[in-house]
Subunit: 240 residues, 2 copies
Amino acid sequence: MAAKTTYPHFVDPQDVDFTLRASISNLIAKTLNVAGVDADSKGFGIRELKPQNRSWVLSRMAIEISHRPSEYTPYNITTWVSDYGRAMSTRNFVLDCEGEVFGSATTQWSMIDFNTRRAVDLRYIAEHNDAVWAEEPPIERAGKLPAVDAEATTEHRVAYSDIDFNRHMNSLRYFDLMLDCLPLEILTEDRAVRIDINFLNETRYGQLLRIGYRNEGDRWEFEIATEDDTIACRTTFEWR
Amino acid sequence: MAAKTTYPHFVDPQDVDFTLRASISNLIAKTLNVAGVDADSKGFGIRELKPQNRSWVLSRMAIEISHRPSEYTPYNITTWVSDYGRAMSTRNFVLDCEGEVFGSATTQWSMIDFNTRRAVDLRYIAEHNDAVWAEEPPIERAGKLPAVDAEATTEHRVAYSDIDFNRHMNSLRYFDLMLDCLPLEILTEDRAVRIDINFLNETRYGQLLRIGYRNEGDRWEFEIATEDDTIACRTTFEWR
């Protein structure tokens, strides 16, 4: 059934960073959780797909956050699937506190069949088709990000606490790794930010990741790669 | 008001590890969250204490987990304050799925006054006194753990994603650091485990932590310390 659906949220103590506002990773985590819950509730989520040995894979995301809500603040995440092609579906999100929008996101997903390791043709997924609400994404979609000519790097070995049921790094952990590279001052101020992410390849338990980054003014570009130079993701943070 | 209170929970996809069961850290996180929510609801939680520049500090914890619930399983956490002295309060927890107990925990807390940097005399906190439910802890309290003669170590620098509002390492992150040192096989099997933790000193943003550990049979002892040998915590995992 075509619908925009709103999910109530609350900034709990475990959601905030040292500024006592919801952290960027936490807002992204909640947003992506809503994608899962909404797809499940409409009959095309991972709960339905798992027995068919299929799953959704997040390919690109853009999110703009004008300010981060404080601890104990109720807020809403509204989501809808705006459109899809053969291989890619676009899901959108608006985050608001009492009607005042403080965040907007748009994401592109493909559905993978683990038996064939190929993308499923979305045109034949009736529940997904029925859910489409033809309203444009609230912000520009994430573009294709170029390679990053890193001027600094850190390392991280993919550990137990990072992995999902496939023993792949949980995408959300990349945000922690990247945000941990930033000077604390950027995160102390509650500045507006746009983040563009391209997820390119999975990384696995035990792999050593290289987090390379480059900073010019308010722009930070990241590239996370494995030892054999497989690119896991590229991300741009643009502070405003 | 004296009461044991039960809080309903659910194992969401973001709560599980690669075995598709709630992770040990997640069960500990949920348990400690319940401590905060219950204390807040009874008028002696951190929401009340913050304006007075006071807070609860977790000193020791013991938890026994017989098995970990699977994704999409509802469960309950029941909590009560069993007793307290001048400086230390004991809060207990029982975790059950449809009445079948799978986890029990007992924790010891002191209340710190940040103005004086000293423990508050709990005998004068009326709301806390009124909440006591005189039922013994469900498991033996955590004892005082001795120094660990480490046979292996890893390192971790305290980063943005680790810290709380005081820019101290969030206690829950220690569990991730320790569990990440274990062979994946131990975490693959859903074995019963008892965990004893002593929290000794806070660690701060930017400090380099040394995670030392020692294994004998089913027993793993951990000690986390800073570069200047301040001990942050000691923990024993005893698999059964």
